[in-house]
Structure formats: C-alpha cells, structure tokens
C-alpha cells in the first residue's frame, strides 16, 4: 500500500460489497434514492454532497462531487461559494461550541 488516499481507489469502492453484500445492497439503494430529484433538484443535492464532502474532508467525495457539479454546468466559481458557505458554517460551529466552555465557566467559576 503506497498511500492512504489514491484517486484510483474510488473505482474500487464497490469492492467492499464482498464483506457484507446484503448491507452493501441496502446502502446502495438508500444512497441512490436519497440523491433522486424530489422537492430538491439533482443539482441542489449534488451541491449538498459537495458541501458535506468538503466539510467532512473526504478526498474521494470531493473528487466525485466536483466532477458531478461540473457536469451540471457549474464552475469553480459556483463551488467556491459553496466552499465558503461550508467553511463559514464550520467556523460558526466551532465558535458555538465555545458556549459549552462559556457555560461551564459560568457554572464553576466565582
């Protein structure tokens, strides 16, 4: 094994099926159904996928969802807006967790 993350790995994602075909099949059906257009368009769901991929720091998903977004007619300019929205939310989440410290401090400090 040369590296933990290799872009060629993505094509072998399905190899994991052999370890538990039944659960893998359920996952595949669930994944496909969740990304079907509904009240939200396919493009909106792809952008959600991209935001989650970025903020979860999954290189495979970032690769896949970037390419899917490009095939929706979006450009890096569009993706940069998603990137900053996701990053801003992550910053807000980090700051919001400061409330825990704030509340603990209020409780135990004189």
């Amino acid at each position: 094994m040369g590296a933990y993350f290799d872009d060629k790995d993505l094509a072998h994602f399905g190899d994991l099926k052999q370890h538990n075909p039944e659960l893998w099949g359920q996952f595949e059906r669930y994944y496909a159904a969740a990304f079907e257009p509904g009240l939200l368009s396919k493009r909106e769901k792809i952008l959600i996928g991209f935001a989650v991929a970025q903020t979860s720091q999954c290189p495979y998903c970032i690769d896949s969802y970037t390419q899917q977004a490009l095939e929706q007619g979006l450009t890096m300019k569009h993706l940069a807006e998603v990137l900053h929205a996701g990053a801003a939310l992550k910053a807000g989440i980090a700051l919001a967790h400061g409330l825990v410290a704030h509340n603990v401090d209020k409780k135990v400090s004189m």
């Binding site: 390419q67 490009l70 095939e71 929706q72 007619g73 450009t75 300019k77």
Partner: protein, 326 residues
C-alpha cells in the same frame, strides 16, 4: 480492448464499439454542411478544426460553385449549414448565403460572435437579418472566466457585444430570426442537461447583460484536434474516453447527425461529419468522394464511417450540431 499508439505517440486503449453503431447507415441527405476553411479570428483551445488567424486554407471557387450547384439540383437538401473556422472570413461567404436563400433553402451559419469586430464585418448582423439566416453561436458558458479560459481572453465580452448587436436587429427575440447558443464543457467532462443550462444561461444573460436568445444546445467535446492534444498532454485521454464509453447510449443512434447530413471539406472532399473530416476519414465503400461527383442515390443511404470519436456523439443525451439527441 487493446493498446494503440496515437498520432502523438501516446498509448491509447483501443475500444470495441457497439455493433449497432458499427452498422450505422445514413437515411437521407437533408443538410449539406460546408466547411469553408480553417481561418478564424480566434484560436480556441478545444477546436477540433484547429482553426486560427494564421491558417490559410479556404474553399476554392470551383468547390463553392459545385456546392451551390448540388443545392440547385437537389431541392430535398433543405438546409445549407455553413461552418469553418469563421465562415464569414471566406471571400464568397455572403454570396453563398444569398444564393442558398434565393433557392429557398434554410441557411444555418455557425457564427462565433466576435468576428463581427473584425474589419469589414461590423454589418454582419444586418446582413444576417436581411437574408433571414439562422445563427448558431458559440458561448461555452454564461460566466466570462469559463468562456475566456476556452476561447481566449476577452472573448466573452466580445461575444456579449455580438449578441447585443444581433438582438438589436431582431435576433433571439422569438420573432423569426432564430438565435441559438452552443455551450460545451470547459474541460474533460460531459455537458449538463440542455434544458437546465438553457434556463440558467437565459436568466444570467438577461439579468447581467440584458441579452436574449431563442434556444441553447449543448455539445460534447470531441476527442480530436486541439482537445485531443490537450487530453494527451494532461494524461487524460483514456480517462475521457472511458467516461464517454461508460455513458454510451444506444438511443442516440437514430438521431445522429451523420444520418441526415453530408459534410464537405474546403477541398471539396465529402465526409459523414465535420469530425470525420478533421480525422481524414473519407466516405466508406464506393461512395462518391468529392462534391463534384455528388450522387444522391449513392449517398443517401451510405454506410457511415465510425470510430472511437463517435463515442462523443453517443454519450449521455447524445451530441450533434443540433444539440442533445434524446
């Protein structure tokens, strides 16, 4: 699959094509697509014609005359499709359009918008409108940065000026002067759904630039010419072909443009499409090989020469000079 060397010496995977694609035949010649030459005021990075301002190839007078003669003799050819390079830079371009319109044929001009800024071509919008030519205009994307990356710095701004000039004479307003935009991916991926991109482009161009158009079509980048060179330089040729192959859609076959179109090179040679023309893939079998030898009976239901580049036209929703096929 096996390996074959590309013209640039890069190893390419040789693909086996669907039998139904291999057995493709034309059904009629409804469109004569004439490529007037390689000269263009632009040098786009993806151009399959590899056109540029420095190219000098132009359709000779005798070939132009032969094309017009074929149109005169065959009224079943309903459309003359004029392409190049920038076809407007051919000295007889306007005469060709006028002649075909005089014969009552639809004339479709593949117009790059910025050629209007070239000396002596500022009145093109008026000319097009007076001859009621249909315009198919390249605009890869509604954002400047994407379009300029593919077509060159400043091309987007020039294209918007061109579109405004066309709108001013009545094009793209839904009243008989049709203006179609052609979008293609700025990279090694498939185009978006035509309707989605048309909607986004319509909203963006109206809001940001006060420009209107009638229709938008998407085309897939063909793995030939400058685009193939770029794919090879960046090590993506096989990956792109894999992508096209995975997206192969047999339902595109009945509507492929080669089934109703005949392509004429600037030198008068005949081809199944502009792409085969650039690959030098001449007509199969005992078909006439030049416009001077045009024979409708022999050409109408000819077998089509196919190759792995045809995977570009058969991927996803399909691709043609008229846009998506399914």
């Amino acid at each position: 699959m096996s390996l074959a060397a590309s013209p640039a010496g890069v190893q390419r995977t040789r693909r086996s094509l669907d039998k139904a694609l291999m057995q493709l035949r034309a059904e009629r010649v409804a469109t004569l697509q004439v490529n007037l030459g390689r000269i263009c005021n632009q040098a786009c990075r993806h151009c399959h014609v590899e056109a540029s301002p420095s190219r000098t190839e132009l359709m000779a007078d005798a070939v132009v005359d032969a094309c017009l003669s074929v149109l005169e003799r065959h009224p079943q050819i309903a459309t003359l499709d004029v392409t190049a390079g920038a076809p407007e830079l051919h000295p007889r371009f306007r005469e060709i359009v006028e002649h075909a319109r005089h014969l009552g044929r639809s004339v479709l001009v593949r117009h790059n918008l910025t050629v209007q800024s070239e000396p002596g071509h500022g009145d093109l919008p008026d000319f097009f409108a007076s001859r009621k030519a249909e315009l198919v205009c390249s605009l890869p994307h509604y954002l400047a940065e994407a379009t300029d990356r593919q077509r060159g710095p400043g091309v987007f701004a020039g294209s918007i000026r061109g579109l405004r000039a066309l709108n001013a004479v009545g094009y793209g307003r839904g009243d008989g002067l049709p203006l179609t935009l052609v979008a293609n991916p700025v990279g090694a991926f498939l185009p978006p759904h035509q309707e989605d991109l048309e909607r986004d482009t319509r909203e963006h161009l109206k809001r940001q630039h006060d420009v209107t158009f009638d229709r938008l079509i998407v085309i897939t980048n063909m793995p030939i010419g400058r685009f193939a060179d770029w794919l090879e330089r960046t090590g993506q040729y096989d990956e792109y072909l894999d992508r096209l192959e995975r997206a192969y859609n047999r339902q595109t076959l009945p509507n492929l443009m080669c089934r109703t179109l005949l392509s004429v090179g600037y030198d008068g040679r005949l081809f199944d499409c502009d792409f085969n023309q650039m690959l030098d893939l001449e007509l199969a079998g005992r078909c006439p090989q030049t416009i001077e030898e045009f024979d409708m009976a022999a050409l109408a239901e000819r077998p089509i020469r196919v190759g792995e580049h045809c995977l570009g036209c058969t991927a996803g929703s399909g691709s043609s000079c008229g846009g998506a096929l399914t």
